[in-house]
Each structure stands twice: as structure tokens, then as C-alpha cells.
């Protein structure tokens, strides 16, 4: 019984069942509030209607998104910063639903971006498959993106710390200029991924 609602700062008190998951990052307060302030409509949650523990609605997942890049460089896009789902509500398509809602929100005014992108660890096969099902494709492989040291060699691949930059074009990119085939063969260094 999922409904989508805008995320509020106070929701952070209620997100432990989602954020205690090992794959979910806990950011500092400023990071969340920056998203709420700059992209208020791109930070939303999925809420379950249940009456357990006197909840008015349990948070089953959330999406943190933003927009960035320059239009003249064909880089104006929506970025998925975090999308996460409570383990009890997985395998239901909830993450896909949150992604689709983000696409819906940014594919028209006031954002009207060219594409949506996200980073996923190369070894996170499940996540990659999920995004491929949603129409995303690998645009490039970012070497050492999740590593602790800034890499210098673009050919030194490592599945544990490299990321795939995955993209899905939105209706504004009529000619498909922001996506490419065989992106997994295109290697870049983290500093080259700037908008």
C-alpha cells in the first residue's frame, strides 16, 4: 500500500529500518537539508499505510535527486544521488517506482532535463540489472570512483572500486545525443566527471 509523499527533514528520525541497511549511506544533516532546499520536489519518500507501532505511515524507501550540468554542453540532467528501500519492501518494484517518479518530475517544466544518470558499483550486478530494466545503459566506466585514493591510470580497472555511470535519455534529448552504446568500454577518471 504505497503512496509517494514529499520528504521532510523530520523523516530522518523515522528512517532507521531503511538506513540501517548496509548498502544505504547515512549523510550528515547539511547534506540532506541541501537537497531539501535546492531540489525540494526531487527528494521524496514511499510510505506504507499501516497501523503498526502507532505509525501514521511507515517509510519504506526514498529518493534523493538533483539537477545539474549545462544545457549548451548537453549535460543538463537529473542525477539520482540515493534511492533505497526497506528490506521488507524489496522485490516489489518500489525502487523502479521511485526512479520513474523522478523521471516524471524532471522530464517537464520547470526542470526539463536531457537525461537521468546515476553511479553504480561495477560489482553491484543486481542494481545494474534493475537500472537496465528501467531503460538505463552504461555511459562510461569511472575508474576508482569508490576508492580511497585518487586514481591516475585510466586503464587500471578494479570491479570493487570502479563505478558505471549509467544514463537514460529523457524526451528532451530527441536525437539520443546524451547516451551511447558500449559505454562500459569507455574509461574515464573521476576528475573528468564534472558538470
Amino acid at each position: 500500500m504505497t503512496s509517494i509523499k514529499p520528504f521532510q527533514m523530520t523523516d530522518l528520525f523515522e528512517t532507521n529500518s531503511v538506513n540501517l541497511d548496509t548498502l544505504t549511506e547515512n549523510f550528515n544533516g547539511s547534506f540532506y537539508s541541501q537537497y531539501l532546499t535546492q531540489w525540494p520536489s526531487l527528494f521524496f519518500k514511499s510510505v506504507e499505510i499501516n497501523s503498526d507501532f502507532q505509525h501514521s505511515g511507515e517509510i519504506s524507501g526514498y529518493m534523493m535527486g538533483k539537477t545539474e550540468g549545462k544545457l549548451d554542453k548537453k549535460e543538463w540532467h537529473t542525477h539520482i544521488t540515493a534511492v533505497t528501500v526497506n528490506p521488507q519492501y524489496r522485490r516489489l518494484g518500489l525502487a523502479s517506482y521511485l526512479c520513474k517518479h523522478l523521471e516524471y518530475s524532471t522530464s517537464g517544466d520547470p526542470y526539463n532535463t536531457l537525461f537521468v544518470d546515476l553511479f553504480v558499483k561495477v560489482n553491484n550486478v543486481l542494481a545494474r540489472q534493475l537500472y537496465e530494466k528501467l531503460g538505463y545503459g552504461v555511459y562510461r566506466r569511472v575508474i576508482g570512483y569508490y576508492g580511497k585514493v585518487m586514481p591516475t591510470d585510466r586503464n587500471k580497472i578494479d570491479n570493487d572500486i570502479d563505478a558505471f555511470d549509467m544514463r537514460k535519455r529523457l524526451p528532451r534529448d530527441v536525437k539520443g545525443e546524451t547516451v551511447r552504446e558500449n559505454g562500459d568500454k569507455v574509461y574515464v577518471l573521476p576528475y573528468e566527471v564534472v558538470f
Binding site: 504505497t2 509517494i4 521532510q8 532507521n16 540501517l20 525540494p40 520536489s41 516489489l92
Partner: protein, 824 residues
């Protein structure tokens, strides 16, 4: 503020008030008309604790209507901190009436934001708007008029008049430029019941663009209020089928609207055609609200169950209807349904994730339906049957089979309470949880439970290890740190705990305090009007958090026990600056729920209370502890007397008593009698005798420790043994310190000597008691290990090695706890 004032401010900050006063008096001589110096003088008085004088002088200064922002800020702070809220506000209001300027008003606005003082935010926003009619300030004023009108403490006038004034202001800004401006307009309209106008505005703004989520929610709510079923149907249909946003609330609106315009059959067709989880569940709403048929409801339930029984949401979804719709829910028919599935699953011999999920759901349903006879055995059986799923899964993926274990831990603990063998079952539960956590390293509920029951058996180092494993950080410090810090200074006081956990949690609070200030201010500057309310609420809750105060208390207690003077000073000053006594409300953000999110999704109060580290502490606990510490430190008799009266009153309150353990409650009686002798009346022999009698080891052994406890394994292996011993130790130390700092006239010397003798003898005798306890704990642990081994190897199929390793860890941790009950 000039550079020449810096030494004065520095002296104040360092607590060198006399030096600050000397420096300031020179300035006052040179500039006798400068109001800032007078305000600074009052501030020093305030910091010295001369509150009455500080307030009197500040009120006098206020009457002179100073206008310099620095002076006003100081006056505002003194008056506000001393509960003269109205006078504090008038400081600025009066100045603005006389010398209105932007900086002055903005200084007021900023101070109000810092304090989350919504009434002052509203007043200063209104003053800013009057001073400069910019779009930004008009929006601030309109929004804050609305905000004040919905506060719990809003007056009748604020409730009725403010939204109208806010509306008038925001109407001057038409046409609106973005969704935030529309949001505040329609939010006020909704608030005053003008739903029609709200609908028109949202429709107008949304023409040719996608719906903003916030506006979409308000639009549907307004149409429902207006009973405009045609339009509600049209928009719900558009959202669900054209925009393809499968939203459950929207399904409910569609069903409701369709029934009122004769389109319910069309919706029935839509529901049949769709197999999404939301539509399947909406079908239950339809059969209940529209068909009003128990049979249709059951059919819809079966349809949902058959499709979603392999998903873990199944239990939560059906549980909702089970609890909220007892008239429609056919328990017997449902029980038959789940029984047939369970049998099929096990006899089918397919041990994959789907089948596992279905079995987990069904075991939860059995629990819900009260069919608990074989639950313990079948849960273990199923857990072991599905080991292949556990082995195959990705290391960081979820394994539903852990729910069998969590359910069994609850059953074991519940049986432990009812069969009077709680401690044995706590140890069994630990072994079972450790065994599962070994195979599923990232399951957070296993670790939450391990923390909970390791705390119960006083193994703080193992609690901390699990806390660290969960990588708890940021806001989770506020919601989850209670797992490691509850009454920790009376369980395992040590330098490592103080530095690595308590101080690190305090650092989080200092950081978030600054972050909150920035977020509220940025929210206004960037005009994100639909988030500011949340920012302010978040700020209020985190700054006045019970967990934050309790952490400071534990820091203070622990540093006193282990003798860390720097932290004693820091935590006492931090507590004073928080001043729990004047905070209108403390907020409890602690999460006591996440570990219960399995099984029937309920807190088992019996188990929860039995394995908790004492009763739940709340604001009364914080206040009584704070008062006690203030009295211990206070050297002025008059002030002490006032504090004693407050403490006495608080301790007579049942709410306070409910938050104390029996030992804490006993210790407060001793503290009170000590305070009465030294501060109120040393002639009362009864108080003296009471004190000396209570400080005898025999009394401790019989009153603090109950008869038989010192040889009782269930007591010796629980947190209570350290708690009792260390609370007594803390008391004796405080008595020694207090009697050194405070002196009675000579005629009471014999009595004082008797008291001092009693406390030093007690310290000596506590050492012997500690030795006795240590020996008994060791043998109790050995016996428990033997009985756990006998029971678990056969019943839960756990290898003897796992049991041996777990007990080895426990033994090491208990030795560390034993060290921390060392008597100096």
C-alpha cells in the same frame, strides 16, 4: 563590537567573570553612555548566577529603549533565558518602533530563528515586510503568519486572524512565479477552508506542466473536501492511468469518487485489469467500501495473497486489514488458506527464496492468529531447511529466514519470564543470534537484538562491538545511541567508552546544532516554504532531545566515576547551557521500535520491560539528575534551598519515580537527607540517623540488594549487579565530595565525623562485596554455559563450537565489566 572588547568577551567565555568585570568597569568609566557596556555587565551578572540582579538591570536598560543590535541581542538573551519571553520580544519591538532599520530587524529575525521561536520569527518577518515590501519579505511574512496560526500555543486571535492576514499578503504577489509561492497560497486557503479557490489556483499553475507532488496532494484533498466527485475522479484517473503513478492514496480517491458518480463498475474493471500490489489492495477497499460484502472482501484477500504471498510485504499489508477491519476479515477462512500454503511449501521440497518468503509470512500469520504451539520448533526447522538460500545470497542482500530466529528469540525470552528462567534463555538467545549473525553479517535486526541482550548481561564491550559494526552515525546518534549509553556509567564506566562513544556522540550534537541553524536560515533565504516547517521542527527536536541530555548526564557521571576533571567541567557547563529545567519540552527521538520490526510487528511489552536497562528515562529523570548535580556544586545556601525544594517536589511526582530504578530511587532519598542536614537543618537527628543507618553494609546488602540476590545467578549475570554496586559507589563519592566542600558549625563535628566514618567504612566493605560478587559471577557463568550447551545442541542444531566461542567472548567481556566495578 570593537577589538578592545575582545579581552572582556574572552574572560566571560573562560568563566573569569571577575576579570571581565574589572575590564568592563574601566570601559564604563570612559563611556558612561554606551548601552552595550551596561548590557554586557548584566550578562556577566547572569553568567555568575546573579539572575535576579541581571534581570532587574536588564529591565531597567530595556526601558531606555536602546537601539544598538549588540545591546539588544544581549538583553534578549538574558531575558529569554530567564523566562521573561515577552520582555525579550519587547526589547526589539520597542527599538524598532523608535529607530526602525533593516539591520536591527534582521538581527531580531536571526535570533528568533536560532531559538526556533516561531512567534518572534513571525513578528520580525512582519516588521521586515513593513520596512521593505520586497517579494521575499512578503512571502516570509505570509508564511510565518500561517505558521504561527497552526502552532499548538497559538492564541484564538492568531488562529483565526493570522491566516487571513497571511492570505492578504500573499495575494498581493499574484501571478505566482513558482510552486513554492503557489504552495503557501493554497496551504493557507486549505487551512481556512477555501478549497474551491485552492483548486482553481493549482489547476491554473499546473496547466501545461507536470503536477508538483505537494500541490497534487493538496489538490486531491481539496476536491475530496468539496465533494467534487467528477473532478476528483478525473484527476485520480489521470494520475493513475495517464501519468502512470500507481499511488495507493490516489486509488482510494478514485474508488470514493467513482461511487458518487455512478462509475464504480468502471473502477471494478480497472481493478480487475491491474495486478499491481496497490491495485490488489485497493480491491480490498473497493469490496469493503463499495460492495460492502464480506465474501467479496475475502475473495479480494485471496487474490492478493495468492499473488503476493512470496513477497515480504504480504504480512504487513494483510496485518493492516486484519487489525483495522475485524468485521470483514474472515479469520477462519484465512487460517485455512495459509495452512494449505505452508503444507505445500514444505512438502514441495523447493527451498528457494520465494518459498522461504511464503513460509516466513505464514509463520508471522500464525503468530498473529495466536497459533503459537509449534512455532518455536517449526521456526528452527524452517531456518535450517533454507540454509541453501542463505549460502547462495549476495553477502549484503537480505535473508528472510532470520525472521524465524528473531521470532524464536522473542518466544524464548517470553518463556524465560513466565517460567522464571529468563537469564538462561537470554544466554540461549545470544548464542542463537550470534550463530545467525555469523552467517548473515549485515542483518541489522540481529545486531540490534544482540545489543539489547548483551546490555542485559552487562557485556558492554560486546554491545559496543555490534554498535560499531552497524556503523551508526549522524542522526542515528540521536535515535539509536541509547543502545550503548543507557545508564552506562553505572554499568561499565571506562575511559574508552567515554572518549570513543559518549564524547563522539556529543560532538555530533554540536555539529548538528550549527547545521540546523544554517538549514533554517537557508530555507528562508531560498524560499523553500514547504520545507521550513520541517526544518524548524527538526531543529527543536534535536536541540531539545532527551537522548542529548541523557548523553551529557552519562558523560558527567562517568567522568566523575573515573576521575576525568576536564570532562566533568565540560559536561556540567554544557548541561547548564542547555538548562533542562527551563526547556518547555524535551523530545524523545529515540528509536525503540526498529528491533521489533519482524514477526507480528508488535512490541512485546513483557519481553521489552524484562530485558531493558531499567525503566525508560525521560525529562523528569534528566531534571532530577540535573538538580542533584546543581545542589552538589552550589555553595550559596539560599540557592541550594530553592533547588532542594524543586528536587523534593520532582521526586514526589509519580512520573519521576516511574523513571528510576529501585537503587536510584533509594539513592535520591539519601541525597535528600544529606542536603537537608547540610543546607536546611542540621539539628534534625532523624535525618542524620537515617543517613548513617543507610550507609551501613548490612543495609546495602539487605535494602539495595534484595535478600538472596548475591547468590542468585539470574541477578549476578545481569546488568543490575553493576548498576547497584556502582550507584552506591557514586553516592559514597558524592557524599565525600559534598562533605568536603560544605561545612557545618563546630557543634556538629561528632556527627560529621560519624558520617565520614560510615562512608569510608562502606567503601572498604564494598571492596569485599565486589570480590564476593566476582567469584559468584564466574561460577554462575560456568553453570549457565553447561545448561545452554545441553539445550541448544539438540533443539536448535547449533554446534558446540559456536556455543563455546560465544561463551568465551562473554567471559572476556564480563571480566572487563568486573574491572569497571573496581572500588578505588
Amino acid at each position: 563590537m570593537s577589538d578592545s572588547e575582545q579581552p572582556i568577551l574572552q574572560a566571560i567565555e573562560n568563566g573569569n567573570y571577575k576579570i571581565a568585570q574589572t575590564l568592563l568597569s574601566k570601559k564604563l568609566k570612559k563611556y558612561p553612555n554606551k548601552s552595550y557596556y551596561y548590557a554586557l555587565n548584566n550578562y556577566i551578572l547572569f553568567k555568575q548566577g546573579k539572575v535576579k540582579e541581571a534581570v532587574q538591570e536588564s529591565l531597567k536598560l530595556k526601558e531606555k529603549t536602546p537601539s544598538d543590535p549588540q545591546t539588544l541581542k544581549l538583553l534578549y538573551e538574558i531575558l529569554k533565558s530567564t523566562n521573561h519571553k515577552q520582555d525579550a520580544t519587547q526589547v526589539f519591538e520597542n527599538a524598532i518602533k523608535k529607530y526602525a532599520n533593516h539591520d536591527l530587524i534582521f538581527a531580531w529575525f536571526e535570533l528568533a530563528l536560532k531559538d526556533f521561536d516561531i512567534r518572534s520569527i513571525q513578528k520580525s518577518s512582519m516588521a521586515l515586510q513593513k520596512f521593505s515590501k520586497s517579494r521575499k519579505y512578503t512571502l516570509w511574512a505570509a508564511f510565518t503568519y500561517y505558521l504561527q496560526s497552526v502552532q499548538a500555543d497559538a492564541t484564538t486571535v492568531e488562529k483565526s486572524l493570522y491566516p487571513k492576514v497571511g492570505l492578504k499578503l500573499v495575494e498581493t504577489l499574484k501571478p505566482y512565479q513558482n510552486e513554492q509561492e503557489v504552495y503557501i497560497y493554497v496551504k493557507i486557503l486549505y487551512n481556512i477552508g477555501n478549497f474551491e479557490e485552492a483548486v482553481v489556483s493549482i489547476e491554473e499553475f499546473s496547466k501545461g506542466r507536470k503536477f508538483d507532488l505537494e500541490l497534487q496532494i493538496i489538490l486531491l484533498a481539496c476536491l475530496s473536501e468539496l465533494e467534487n466527485w467528477e473532478l476528483l475522479y478525473r484527476y485520480s484517473y489521470q494520475i493513475l492511468f495517464e501519468d502512470k503513478l500507481d499511488d495507493f492514496d490516489t486509488w482510494k480517491y478514485l474508488i470514493k469518487a467513482s461511487n458518487n458518480i455512478g462509475k464504480s463498475e468502471e473502477v471494478a474493471d480497472q481493478l480487475k485489469a491491474s495486478t499491481s500490489r496497490n491495485s490488489r489492495l485497493a480491491n480490498l477497499i473497493y469490496s469493503k467500501d463499495i460492495m460492502k460484502s464480506k465474501t467479496s472482501f475475502h475473495e479480494a484477500l485471496v487474490a492478493y495473497y495468492n499473488e503476493y504471498k512470496y513477497k515480504l510485504c504480504c504480512f504487513n499489508d494483510i496485518n493492516y486489514f486484519y487489525k483495522s477491519e475485524p468485521t470483514y476479515f474472515d479469520k477462519n477462512a484465512f487460517e485455512t488458506l495459509i495452512n494449505s500454503t505452508s503444507q505445500k511449501n514444505v512438502s514441495g521440497g523447493e527451498f528457494n527464496e520465494k518459498e522461504l518468503n511464503a513460509l516466513v509470512n505464514n509463520q508471522k500469520f500464525n503468530k498473529l492468529l495466536g497459533k503459537t504451539e509449534d512455532l518455536l520448533t517449526t521456526n528452527f526447522e524452517y531456518y535450517n531447511l533454507f540454509q541453501s538460500v542463505l549460502l547462495k545470497k549476495d553477502e549484503k542482500d537480505y535473508f528472510a529466514g532470520d525472521e524465524f530466529i528473531l521470532m524464536n528469540v522473542e518466544i524464548l525470552l517470553e518463556n524465560g519470564v513466565s517460567e522464571d528462567k529468563l537469564i538462561e534463555n537470554v544466554f540461549k538467545s545470544i548464542v542463537i543470534l550470534e550463530n545467525s549473525a555469523k552467517h548473515d553479517d549485515h542483518e541489522f535486526r540481529l545486531r540490534l537484538w544482540l545489543m539489547k541482550i548483551y546490555s542485559y548481561i552487562n557485556c558492554s564491550s560486546l554491545v559496543n562491538a555490534n554498535f560499531d559494526h552497524l556503523d551508526i552515525k549522524m542522526i542515528q546518534n540521536d535515535t539509536l545511541s541509547h543502545h550503548i549509553s543507557t545508564r552506562i556509567s553505572s554499568l561499565n564506566p571506562n575511559q574508552l567508552m567515554l572518549q570513543q562513544h559518549l564524547i563522539s556522540i556529543q560532538k555530533f550534537y554540536l555539529t548538528i546544532e550549527q547545521e540546523v541553524e544554517d538549514m533554517v536560515s537557508n530555507g528562508f533565504e531560498q524560499l523553500v516554504l514547504n520545507k521550513i516547517e520541517g526544518f524548524l521542527e527538526f531543529g527543536t527536536k534535536i536541540n531539545n532531545s532527551v537522548a542529548k541530555m541523557l548523553n551529557l548526564i552519562e558523560m558527567l557521571r562517568m567522568s566523575k566515576i573515573i576521575g576525568n576533571n576536564q570532562i566533568i567541567h565540560y559536561s556540567m557547563e554544557a548541561l547548564k547551557s542547555q538548562d533542562p529545567l527551563s526547556v518547555p519540552e524535551l523530545y524523545d527521538n529515540r528509536d525503540f521500535i526498529s528491533e521489533w520490526k519482524y514477526g507480528a510487528q508488535e512490541i512485546n511489552e513483557l519481553v521489552h520491560n524484562s530485558v531493558s536497562i531499567g525503566p525508560k528515562q525521560s525529562s523528569e529523570y534528566v531534571k532530577s539528575y540535573y538538580l542533584r548535580e546543581l545542589i552538589l556544586q552550589e555553595t550559596h545556601a539560599d540557592k541550594s534551598k530553592q533547588l532542594i525544594t524543586k528536587l523534593n517536589k520532582l521526586l514526589n511526582d509519580e512520573t519521576t519515580q516511574r523513571q528510576l530504578t529501585s537503587t536510584e530511587s533509594w539513592s535520591y532519598k539519601i541525597y535528600l537527607s544529606l542536603f537537608k542536614i547540610y543546607i536546611v537543618n542540621p539539628d534534625n537527628d532523624a535525618d542524620f540517623n537515617f543517613l548513617i543507618k543507610n550507609l551501613s553494609i548490612n543495609n546495602i546488602k539487605n535494602k539495595v540488594f534484595k535478600v538472596g540476590e548475591l547468590t542468585d545467578h539470574s541477578f549476578l549475570l545481569s546488568w543490575e549487579v553493576n548498576h547497584k554496586l556502582l550507584t552506591v559507589l557514586e553516592l559514597v563519592r558524592n557524599i565525600n565530595l559534598f562533605t568536603t566542600m560544605h561545612h557545618l558549625p563546630k557543634q556538629y563535628s561528632p556527627k560529621v565525623a560519624e558520617l565520614k566514618k560510615a562512608s569510608s567504612s562502606l567503601l572498604e566493605e564494598l571492596r569485599d562485596l565486589k570480590r564476593e560478587i566476582d567469584e559468584n559471577v564466574e561460577s554462575a557463568l560456568k553453570q549457565i554455559e553447561k545448561s545452554v550447551k545441553e539445550s541448544l545442541v539438540d533443539n536448535a542444531d547449533i554446534s558446540p563450537k559456536v556455543i563455546q566461542n560465544t561463551f568465551a567472548k562473554i567471559s572476556t567481556s564480563l571480566q572487563e565489566s568486573s574491572l569497571s566495578r573496581r572500588i578505588p
